[in-house]
């Protein structure tokens, strides 16, 4: 008797939980799962003549992500253009992450070690770019490094160079732009990790015969690591899918995945390929997220 009333209670409890969760589930289904399904379905259809899709099953979209067929004899080969863009996207995103790490961690350290009152000011400086349109920010960077931009004019004026250094539309330009745009995403989580760090622990380490370096390695870094990882993820993932910055800084020459996808839905008129590329990007992001949860989740479980 007691058993079954307990079961009843449990069933009722489960039902109530589902009921409570249902609005959230509905929203997730409507705005996240359904659109994703549309993309998955489109990736298995044939391209329409003027964009859109033909409702005919085809694996051509997925095939074209990595391969291409010769126009004349139909021989299959790896698609150099796509591979280049894919690797460029991954490599540039990793490089952006590394650059923002090198710039962001010392910056965060600097801010976190200021007196309490000054920190708000420095954080404000870091966040101001956020309030500015991405396009405007990127064009500002372009203004700095283009051939008759600020940098080149100063160098010419000082007589340090004879002709402008061509920087726009190179991987370098892309990196400068992306590092600038994504830097705050690195600084903020690292800052909050350092700010939460209890510097009396560093003092304890120093008291226990640790050199500054040993203290940094064994005490400070392990404790601010979650912030560093979060910052890296926050920079890496949007870098992978970056669209505006590569478009402006890389032009048509240094394309990234985001631009390639946009091209398929625009002038390329190959929606299935665009959908397949989008899913490839999503898969890359997922890999990064799984790696992230391994790094942090494993740590917190041991904690």
């Amino acid at each position: 008797m007691g058993r079954s009333s307990e079961d009843h209670a449990r069933v009722a409890d489960t039902r109530r939980r589902w009921a409570l969760a249902s609005p959230a589930l509905a929203i997730i289904t409507l705005f996240s799962i359904l659109p994703l399904l549309v993309v998955v379905v489109y990736s298995f259809l044939s391209p329409g003549d003027f964009g859109g899709v033909h409702w005919k099953l085809s694996f051509e979209g997925w095939f074209s992500v990595l391969f291409e067929r010769d126009i004349f004899d139909d021989t299959v080969s790896l698609s150099d253009a796509h591979l280049t863009i894919l690797t460029r996207s991954v490599v540039l995103s990793l490089a952006t992450t590394v650059i923002t790490l090198f710039l962001g961690v010392p910056t965060a350290w600097f801010i976190a070690t200021r007196p309490q009152k000054q920190r708000a000011f420095w954080l404000l400086l870091i966040t101001i770019p956020f309030w500015t349109n991405l396009l405007v920010r990127t064009i500002a960077v372009q203004e700095m490094i283009r051939s008759d931009g600020v940098f080149n004019r100063i160098m010419l004026g000082l007589g340090l160079i004879d002709e402008p250094i061509q920087m726009m539309f190179t991987n370098f330009a892309l990196l400068v732009g992306m590092a600038y745009v994504f830097l705050p995403l690195m600084v903020l989580p690292v800052y909050s990790a350092i700010e939460r760090f209890d510097f009396r622990l560093a003092e304890a380490g120093y008291d226990l015969y640790a050199s500054r370096l040993y203290c940094l390695r064994r005490v400070i870094l392990p404790m601010v690591r979650p912030g560093v990882i979060a910052g890296s993820i926050l920079v890496f993932i949007p870098s992978l899918g970056a669209y505006v910055t590569p478009r402006i800084m890389g032009g048509g020459k240094s394309m990234m995945l985001g631009n390639l996808i946009e091209m398929q839905f625009g002038q390329g008129r190959n929606w299935p390929l665009g959908a397949a590329l989008s899913l490839t990007l999503t898969a890359l992001v997922l890999v990064a997220l799984i790696w992230y949860s391994r790094l942090t989740g494993g740590g917190s479980r041991r904690d």
Binding site: D207, L208, A210, R218, D303
Partner: protein, 353 residues
């Protein structure tokens, strides 16, 4: 072994400068349990942090085993600290915490493991070696902090109010434990507290501090029986203060019936007498006899505190053992004679209180 000479510390510059420590000098002997005792803000932590190396002194010398270490960084001083908040590394296990210093010194793992095992046995925490330090109770964290600071065999162990975060019962246990550890290891301890009872029960010598100055350095018994000044007398234990005057070898108290002989220079004095030395009832030879009105009896179990008012409005407290005297000795509202035996009186120079 540790000589501190004219050590001083100022924080800040110009107008806003705070002098936390005014030229203090003292020596600590090998194996001593030395306590810094004083009210909040008197500079105990500042002095300890200077010995540890976290604060550079503004002046003076800090000589350990014949070497001036005033400007040696903390990681090169053979001195370790048990911090008030313990400051255990939360991402490490108990064993890793205890072995930290040895790792930093580049010792071999086998040696580290051996020492860590020994230290954990010493503080009776062997069974918790692989717990994360955040998963321990306050008392356990305290022991880990102790073991961690003891593991590298420092010349001096500094303890900044290590027991203040513990509850009363645990605190008493840890006092005994600390004393045992100190005896077993033969280490020199410099212990900071603002709890006078803790200082009296544990220390070999106590330095009473106030306002960045040393008021007195003495053994607990001497500090209690022969305080150097009114501050020390008031800070250690409970005390009655009465204002009097010395004239020609006689102590004259306005409230008393007759003067008693006193070996003191002529002039105004403060008379100090501990409550447990006050005797209810009259006529002991050589005692000051006063008339006092009993205002309140406060029962404490083993003893009763008798609060009395003197003729001129001053108060006097007596402590009577409940084993010796029955409650019938006095009643609230009664006026009774009270004796202050000559041997119980201590004369201090009068200060503007």
């Amino acid at each position: 072994m540790l000589d501190i000479r004219n050590l001083s510390k100022r924080f800040g510059r110009g107008e806003s400068a705070v002098t936390a420590l005014h030229e203090v000098s003292f020596s600590i002997k090998e194996g001593e349990f030395f306590t810094l005792l004083g009210p909040s803000g008197c500079g105990k932590t500042t002095l300890l942090r200077m010995i540890a190396g976290f604060e550079p002194p503004s002046g003076g010398a800090l000589v350990l085993d014949g070497q001036d270490i005033a400007h040696t960084p903390p990681n090169r001083r053979p001195v370790n600290t048990v911090f008030q908040n313990y400051a255990l590394f939360p991402h490490m296990t108990v064993a890793e915490n205890v072995g930290f210093a040895l790792g930093a010194l580049g010792k071999r793992q086998a040696e580290i493991d051996e020492t860590v095992g020994r230290m954990l046995d010493l503080v009776q925490l062997g069974h918790l070696a692989h717990r994360k330090s955040g998963e321990l109770s306050g008392g356990q964290q305290q022991r880990v902090a102790l073991a961690r600071a003891l593991a590298p065999k420092p010349r001096i162990l500094l303890l900044d109010e290590p027991l203040s975060a513990l509850d009363m019962k645990l605190r008493k246990e840890m006092q005994v434990e600390l004393k045992r550890l100190q005896r077993e290891t033969g280490l020199t301890f410099i212990f900071v507290t603002h709890d006078q009872e803790e200082a009296l029960t544990m220390s070999d010598r106590i330095a009473v501090m106030s306002g960045g100055r040393f008021q007195q350095i003495a053994e607990p018994r001497d500090l209690y029986d022969q305080p150097a000044n009114r501050f020390v007398a008031g800070f250690i234990g409970e005390t009655n203060f009465l204002d009097g005057r010395c004239e020609g070898g006689q102590l004259i108290l306005p409230e008393a019936e007759a003067p008693v002989p006193a070996a003191h220079d002529d002039g105004p004095v403060t008379v100090m007498v501990r409550p447990e030395r006050v005797v209810l009832g009259a006529a002991q030879p050589g005692a000051l006899v006063l008339q006092a009105k009993v205002e309140q009896l406060v029962y404490f179990g083993t003893d009763t505190h008798v609060h009395m008012a003197l003729a001129n409005g001053n108060t006097l407290v007596a402590r009577v053992q409940n084993a010796d005297q029955s409650d019938a000795a006095c009643r609230e509202g009664e006026t009774i004679p009270v004796s202050l035996p000559g041997g119980a009186l201590r004369l201090l120079p009068q200060e503007a209180a």
